[in-house]
């Protein structure tokens, strides 16, 4: 195991940020800590890095107990949401910083900086200062800087959170490819579920200081362990007391079998996908997600009477955890 977190608790005054959290992250993987604001995901990352001290529990990095080690000695690379660029140094000196601390020979530093700048596509910008770079460029520099010291694990704290949507998407793809090239065990913190699904080998869903589920993205999506995981990872709509994914709701013009009657309230075209807002007979509101072709084939219009049937329902039981999934 690359990173092993055991029973970590962290309090800030009365607020419990992490509650007996345990996690085992395999070597070479890209794990995403996914959760809403205040869930404790950043705190967990910082505990792994040594930037926060847990009140109890242990952290091991590649089988070495790191709990009592300062961040300097853990061999972690850290990328901050707001870049933390050394603003008094140019790009080259930023990336070279860690190596200079290690007192590596000058030509080795120079060669490696050039190599890394090529890797993150910042070649030619080595003499610029961070204030002269765009957000995306600064973050790529931060990555190069973190990778320069050959960290055992790479930790990224909402690295794309401060960037524009377009840049975010591009960097997401780019990071995934970088990980495939460099193969360093990586942990990334985000609140963006789409980002998590796209980038991760595994996702740990964090909520109120606890890990609700840790597994492959597809498993989380199709077999959520708790109500929270279901609603957070992927779109949901309520079907009476159960949850359903909007694209698992069949819509038809003819009644068939267990189909129920519903009225079309609104048809919203979102490009290829179409969101159809429906009301059941009792007045419950629903959302179905269909493709453009399906909608055209059904000739759906507002006010029409249609019939709906759920393909996969997730029923939430009494205490809101361990939902049962039933398919029809």
């Amino acid at each position: 195991m690359a990173i092993s977190v055991r029973g970590v608790t962290k309090r800030f005054g009365d607020f419990v940020a992490l509650d007996e959290v345990s996690l085992a992250i395999p070597s070479g993987s890209l794990t995403v800590l996914l959760g809403p604001s205040g869930s404790g995901k950043s705190t967990l990352l910082r505990v792994i890095a040594g930037l926060e001290l847990p009140d109890s529990g242990r952290v091991s990095i590649f089988d070495t107990d790191a709990t009592d080690l300062p961040p300097q000695k853990r061999g972690v690379g850290f990328v901050f949401q707001h870049y933390a660029s050394f603003k008094r140094m140019n790009v080259r000196d930023n990336v070279a910083f860690g190596m200079k601390i290690q007192k590596r020979p000058k030509n080795e530093i120079r060669a490696r900086v050039d190599e890394l700048l090529g890797l993150v596509q910042l070649q030619g910008l080595a003499e610029r200062y961070p204030s002269q770079l765009s957000g995306g460029q600064r973050q790529r520099m931060a990555l190069a800087r973190a990778l320069a010291v050959e960290p055992k694990v790479l930790l990224l704290d909402e690295p794309f959170g401060a960037l524009d949507a377009r840049v975010r998407k591009d960097l997401r793809t780019w990071l995934r490819r970088l990980h495939e090239d460099v193969q360093v065990t990586t942990v990334l913190v985000t609140h963006d579920q789409e980002e998590a699904m796209e980038v991760a080998d595994r996702i740990a869903v964090v909520n109120h200081g606890r890990i609700e589920q840790y597994g492959k993205p597809r498993d989380l999506y199709e077999h959520p362990a708790t109500e929270f995981v279901m609603t957070f990872v992927g779109p949901v709509t309520r079907f009476r007391e159960a949850y359903i994914r909007p694209h698992d709701l069949d819509v038809g013009r003819e009644p068939r079998g267990s189909y129920e009657e519903a009225t079309v309230e609104k048809v919203v075209h979102l490009g290829f996908e179409v969101r159809v807002e429906l009301t059941l007979a009792e007045g419950d509101r629903l959302e179905a997600q269909l493709t453009k072709r399906e909608v055209e084939g059904l000739e759906l219009l507002e006010g029409q009477r249609v019939f709906v049937s759920p393909r996969r329902l997730t029923r939430v039981d009494q205490n809101g955890s361990a939902p049962h999934v039933t398919s029809s």
Binding site: L53, T67, D68, L69, P70
Partner: protein, 290 residues
């Protein structure tokens, strides 16, 4: 239980790599300020008031004592008010009204901060002294500036002017113009807008600056000792009076350091309370002197 606590503390320190440097910094800071600031204040209070109010009474019975204190406080108040008004005016002019030479005027306003206070006194004597062109003219018309109260006031105004301007200027330049623009659209102009919208927003800064002026004026020595003539009951201020207590004999004081300490404690206490109030007004954060 003690062993328990001790091992907990030891364990905590072991696991907290930053703890030792934190404790080193804290001890340094407390030692430094404790020795250099707390200790001297303590000795003033102990020597001045350690045996009750006797020292203060004796000091106040000295020739010219009461008037010195009264003069100092009155002048400090007048200075605070005058520079409160003119300082605000200057800040407003510098921030809101573009005019040629604005940068130069801004630099000139900062001048009293750079110039030693004694030199300020020298400057005023040079220009307004009885032998100079300007001062001579005033003397001939019956107005004594130097070696009289007007001179002291000038010196205090000079030395404290930047305090208000620098207090108000940043607040004014960061003020959101929207409220004023809204007032304009509702028909208010000029002075009304200023009085009802701008002034209330500036009030804390103006008051804070004026309080600093007051505190500074209470203790001013260098500019005054030169300019004032130090005539008891007429132009003697409290700080100069304290020096006289330390060299007894002149003007018939009984003097002595303990009496000086009593008066000093009074002066210092007043100024310190004012500085604390000022900190409260600017939300308790340490303010840059720039």
């Amino acid at each position: 239980m003690v062993a328990d606590a001790r091992s907990r503390i030891a364990g905590r320190a072991r696991r907290d790599p930053g703890a030792s440097s934190r404790w080193a910094l804290r001890s340094t800071a407390f030692l430094y300020l404790g020795l250099f600031v707390l200790l001297p204040v303590a000795v003033i209070l102990q020597r001045g008031y350690g045996s009750g109010l006797g020292n203060l009474e004796d000091a106040l019975h000295s020739f010219g004592a009461w008037n010195a204190i009264r003069l100092t406080v009155v002048l400090a108040v007048v200075t605070a008010i005058v520079n409160g008004v003119f300082g605000t005016l200057l800040a407003y002019v510098l921030v809101r009204i573009p005019f040629p030479g604005r940068e130069i005027v801004s630099a000139i306003v900062d001048l009293p901060f750079a110039i030693p206070s004694l030199v300020a006194g020298v400057m005023l004597v040079a220009l307004y002294g009885p032998t100079s062109v300007v001062g001579g003219w005033f003397e001939d018309h019956g107005l004594k500036i130097i070696f009289a109260v007007p001179g002291i006031l000038l010196a205090l105004l000079f030395v404290t002017l930047p305090l208000v301007v620098r207090s108000v200027q940043p607040v004014l330049s960061e003020l959101d113009r929207e409220e004023e623009e809204a007032a304009h659209t509702l028909g208010a102009h000029g002075w009304t807008t200023f009085r009802k919208i701008v002034l209330p927003a500036l009030r804390p800064a103006i008051v804070a600056g004026s309080l600093l002026v007051f505190a500074r004026s209470l203790g001013e020595f260098g500019a005054i000792v030169f300019v004032a003539g130090n005539i008891p009951n007429q132009t003697l201020t409290a700080p100069v009076f304290i020096t006289q207590l330390l060299s007894p004999g002149s003007y018939g004081q009984s003097g002595g350091p303990d009496q000086a300490a009593a008066v000093a404690g009074l002066l210092f206490g007043l100024a310190f309370i004012v500085v604390l109030l000022t900190e409260k007004l600017i939300s308790g954060r340490l303010e840059r002197t720039t």
